[in-house]
């Protein structure tokens, strides 16, 4: 069976500076995979590279087909959906407008999906007319994920969805992701809070200085000790 996402020898550069030095990574259908690593490891760069937002070299395959030369919006239309670091919410627009922009690639048939999203995050239903920028951090994250779900993703990629959230809220957000994954959605989750991510993900990659320095097999877990060493070594 072909993997949902398959990266081979992926390099990414900002101008002259190379930030990823040949990363191999895959996400199987319906699998939840975590990417861990310290600040500056290249986690966000990895997701940007997958979406074509930085210059890359190497192979990026989605459902078996190369997307390495497709522009960002075309990758998104294929069902590769990324919630960026900082959430990418349109603050001066309403919650409702943000959600309908998520339906851009769907053209037309968005009502049913909108209902499902609002069922997943009932909090958003009460705030449809509110400006997105005035939502709390947790609500903004719900909106970001909800908006991503409006696109009916085949692969959902999230960059530190728990960033800046109180521990309970972070756990609730990750729980919602677990729920989506149990319903068959493939997820690539970038997280700094390793314990939270490892509880949900089937496999994990550890990134450091632009290289994969460790990866776990299904069922295998990293001990606190191993993690500490990977982060600090």
């Amino acid at each position: 069976m072909t993997a949902l996402l398959e990266l081979q020898g992926l390099h990414a550069c900002y101008g002259q500076v190379e930030a990823l030095h040949g990363v191999d990574l895959s996400v199987g259908a319906g699998e939840m995979v975590a990417v861990l690593g310290p600040n500056g490891a290249g986690k966000s760069t990895l997701l940007r590279a997958v979406m074509g937002q930085v210059a890359t070299a190497g192979s990026i395959r989605f459902e078996g087909a190369s997307v390495a030369y497709a522009p960002t919006h075309r990758r998104a239309a294929l069902g590769m959906v990324m919630v960026p670091e900082g959430r990418g919410i349109f603050g001066p627009m309403t919650v409702d407008e943000n959600l309908s922009l998520g339906g851009w690639t769907q053209r037309g048939c968005v009502a049913a999906q909108r209902g499902r999203v609002l069922d997943l995050f009932p909090r958003l239903r009460e705030r449809l007319g509110q400006l997105a920028g005035s939502l709390s951090g947790g609500e903004q994250q719900m909106l970001a994920i909800g908006r991503a779900m409006m696109m009916q993703p085949r692969l959902l990629m999230l960059d530190e969805p728990s960033l800046g959230l109180a521990p309970r809220l972070a756990a609730a957000i990750l729980e919602a992701l677990g729920e989506l994954n149990r319903n068959g959605l493939g997820i690539l989750l970038v997280e700094q809070r390793a314990p939270l991510a490892l509880r949900l993900a089937r496999r994990a990659y550890v990134l450091r200085l632009g290289n994969v320095v460790a990866q776990t097999q299904p069922g295998e877990t990293l001990t606190q000790d191993q993690l500490g060493r990977l982060y600090l070594a």
Binding site: M51, Q53, H73, G88, F90, M93, L101, W104
Partner: protein, 293 residues
């Protein structure tokens, strides 16, 4: 009180010119919002609006409305070509904003010179689009062309508001103006929307040029003065907010008109720039803008 009536009269006339500045300013904002570029070729759309309408009407004897439509189409074509041939290649090469702005200025100069070669340097004017006598509102006399400018401008502004709030494309353009990367992640084809932005602001610029020509005259070199006024109006309105820009235009038109009554026509630019400086110092975010840091 003839004094007060005269003042009101100048206010109305100033507001008419102000609408035109406002439309030019909206043109700046639409492109700036979609692409982050200040398009200094905006004035050439305004100039072509008047000059092409005149040429089609005068040389080819087309009805005025048809000539105007032709001028809008020519401007839109120029806008889209500017995007495709100048802006987009630079964009793909990750040129700095400074380079992009210079490139649009080059487009302005090229269009201006080509127009000079094709139609010459004679000033041209158009008959009023509605040919009937002036409207009397109590003691104030409203020129029909000025009334027409008010009506068309308000319709355009209302139409744009609907476009930006009610249509998927309009909303997507707003999204691009807020965060282009996030918009692309939603599958929104950002560069195609930049082209739509160029087309839209070329059309608005051309309409402004067509509207204003019967009240004065136009010539190959009239784009730049209008672009400068429109640019000032856009800053007054808080660059990037089309409705603020329109208000900024009204304010500028009225200021110039009052300066003309009070101190003579030679002072109008002094006052425009004074208003601009006051705004830059006291309210740099403009009338409706939010402060950017």
């Amino acid at each position: 009180m003839p004094e007060a009536t005269l003042l009101l009269q100048f206010l109305v006339t100033g507001a008419g010119t102000g609408c035109v500045y406002g439309l030019v300013a909206i043109g700046f904002c639409v492109i700036y919002n979609a692409s982050g570029i200040v398009n200094f070729a905006q004035g050439s759309f305004v100039m072509l609006g008047g000059v092409v309408t005149y040429s089609l009407w005068h040389a080819l004897h087309l009805p005025l409305a048809v000539a105007a439509l032709g001028a809008i189409i020519v401007s839109v074509a120029l806008g889209v070509l500017t995007d495709l041939l100048v802006v987009r290649p630079l964009w793909h090469r990750r040129a700095t904003m400074f380079v992009m702005i210079l490139a649009t200025l080059a487009v302005q100069i090229v269009v201006e010179r080509l127009t000079l070669i094709v139609v010459g340097d004679a000033p041209m004017s158009l008959p009023p689009i509605l040919s009937r006598g002036p409207i009397h509102l109590g003691p104030i006399v409203l020129d029909t062309q000025v009334a027409f400018i008010f009506a068309v401008s308000l319709l355009l502004v209302a139409g744009l508001r609907l476009f930006f709030t009610r249509t998927a494309t309009g909303r997507a353009m707003r999204a691009c103006s807020i965060d282009r990367d996030a918009a692309a992640l939603l599958g929104i084809p950002v560069s195609r929307l930049v082209a739509v932005g160029f087309a839209l602001s070329a059309a608005i610029g051309a309409i402004a040029g067509i509207l204003v020509t019967p009240t004065q005259y136009t010539a190959y070199n009239l784009g730049v003065p209008f672009a400068i006024s429109g640019f000032i109006a856009a800053i007054l309105g808080g660059f990037g907010n089309p409705f603020g820009a329109f208000l900024g235009g009204l304010m500028l038109g009225i200021t110039q008109s009052l300066a003309t009554v009070a101190f003579g026509a030679g002072t109008r630019n002094v006052f425009s720039l004074a208003v601009l400086l006051i705004f830059l110092l006291l309210r740099p975010q403009g009338l409706l803008g939010t402060a950017k840091t």
